[in-house]
Symmetry: none
Amino acid sequence: MISDKILLIVLDGGADRPLMIDGREETPLSSAKTENLDILAEEGISGMMDVLSPGIPPGSDTGHLSLLGYDPYKVYTGRGPIEAAGAGIDVKRGDVAFRCNFATLEDGKIIDRRAGRIRETEELAKAIDEEVHLDVDFIFKRSTGHRAALVFRGDGLGGDVTASDPKEDGMQIKESKALKKGSEKTAEILNDFVEQSIRVLSDHPVNEERAKKGLPRANAILTRGAGLLPEIERFEERYGLKGAVVAAAGLVIGISRICGLDFVFTEGATGGTDSNVNKKVENALRSLKNHDFVLMNIKGTDEAGHDRNFAKKSKFFERIDEAFERLLGLEDTMIAITADHTTSVAIGDHTGDPVPICIHGEGVRSDSINKFDEFNCASGGLGRIRGRDLMPILTDLTNRSKKFGA
Amino acid sequence: MISDKILLIVLDGGADRPLMIDGREETPLSSAKTENLDILAEEGISGMMDVLSPGIPPGSDTGHLSLLGYDPYKVYTGRGPIEAAGAGIDVKRGDVAFRCNFATLEDGKIIDRRAGRIRETEELAKAIDEEVHLDVDFIFKRSTGHRAALVFRGDGLGGDVTASDPKEDGMQIKESKALKKGSEKTAEILNDFVEQSIRVLSDHPVNEERAKKGLPRANAILTRGAGLLPEIERFEERYGLKGAVVAAAGLVIGISRICGLDFVFTEGATGGTDSNVNKKVENALRSLKNHDFVLMNIKGTDEAGHDRNFAKKSKFFERIDEAFERLLGLEDTMIAITADHTTSVAIGDHTGDPVPICIHGEGVRSDSINKFDEFNCASGGLGRIRGRDLMPILTDLTNRSKKFGA
């Protein structure tokens, strides 16, 4: 049976550097019992992949761009547009977008950049949307927790302005400035937005209520990550594949939406190690019925890495592996399992080490690898490939690629 | 003894994707008994090669360009000039060339694009050459079977024109149009050529004879693959190597001639699985006496792949292997054995999978590989390389490369 569909599974930050565990060098992945992943590795072809290039730690945004076959060095314009798309804003060509925080301002200084990790931001966001008036159209939308996204839409807007976010507590809000000619208008309007927001939020009933409870007010909006929407060829035009994304992380959803993938919501998908992985796999398989390509991102592995928690990361792999039992025997689908970057539990951050990859489906040249981890995949038949080559390889294996020449 | 000469052997379309044969995953190459190839692998260093880049299926033309060290994305201008050179036309800078078919025209429509696979085209071609008169110089030359090549030579000719070939039966001949400014004159003259050819061919005695026998007339010329001669640095200038090509396939001969290799004719070399491989090897070894570099292409493997014939392809490898016995112990020669692309018997066409490669000669770092096939070479000491890197590797191993830096 020909593998016609493509399922790309990204275990976010799933790769790691080894630590000595019981006298052996192990990573969270190598020490986990992952029977189903190992069967996929045994039947498929494995290797290592530099998602960007050797030694360069990718972000989840640039990493996913690369895995989807785009060159982030050409198309990445910062995190603002991605967060905005992830928050559900339909970002359009020419829009300038920003990542925002609700923050606490006192005596002219930011004393808490996250406003006590406020969650009830709905009323506050609504007030900003209704009571702030700018010289361009704008969309302000709350995201998870203290986060939000802001989009300016209009003529003559550039994306190169400095952040108003001082990026540490105890500092004043910064005046945004244009970094390049053509972004002056954006900086001016952004400063106006920040000022008006403070006026709208300061006496808002939600903040009065919080003050009564001794909670920090969410009386200022900090902005950062300004950028124009990247000019990205739509995924379907690029590959002739109708695609969907099954994910919980805003950044991954945002990138995928900007590329033109349909977002499929999963009940109980949290982006953490408590996520409902079974439901996600179920959703991915269902989405393959009316899509040619599904990107499934599982974020908890990255979270555990940032938490520097080896055991948590390792244990989560075992939960993932259980859910992957239903991937076995999936005959019509080319499955690729990999990570978007290494997240080292020793360091608590992304590193530039290559990530393991396994491709499983009809027509792949099986190798002798029978365990999916950073050590074994390094001897695999794929050798060492680049993130940007993955989509051409997968479209070729599903017999969609065009010959160059005769 | 120093390996001073280079013999590059291309088993055309020789790589494949595995099929289940007797409960094992095998390719035509892996299932063939290839004692001599395996000795070369055992003594040499092996690896996998992306002839263009991962997942991109090369044509035989772009594939060979890449193996000869040129970037086809920069120098490839379409198939016309390559076919013309392959047909023996001495194509020059500024020439525009076309691939042609003799075809059957009836009631204004092409009813057979190959004129009943006519072979006796000598007289017809001569008539065109003598009786067609154009505003530029032209060369029209028959090639194998119903094929021919056409070259325009003169000032102000561009290579970007549409085909006159409708590419399916039952359609009218298309009027050629310029795709870019500067190609208008080419389109105009091409349309004139097509019209005059019909007049010259329609009542030609060869066609009268065919009509009597109930065979389709070859009364029209279809053109496609228009292109200017690529601007290619001569092989000898590029590498300081006097080179020759031993091949039967027109496309390979054409590419090689354009690069400046001497063509060595081999009696009994057919481009098919019935080819006289012994004679080819003999010719290649003889050519090495007065050349530094010989490219030997064996086309039958590709033919068997396009025919979707696993057994035919596999068996032909065994015939090739027998002929390769005389490559053993060839001390003064660096031998590289590889393919220009994968041709999958399951699909019957080129795919973008990497191809195995083995380099054998004095000074190579032998590895543990002792079988030349797609599975074993994937663990070889060369790792995964690119087609364009092969010539620098071979010139380096023969101690010809120049240091960059001090």
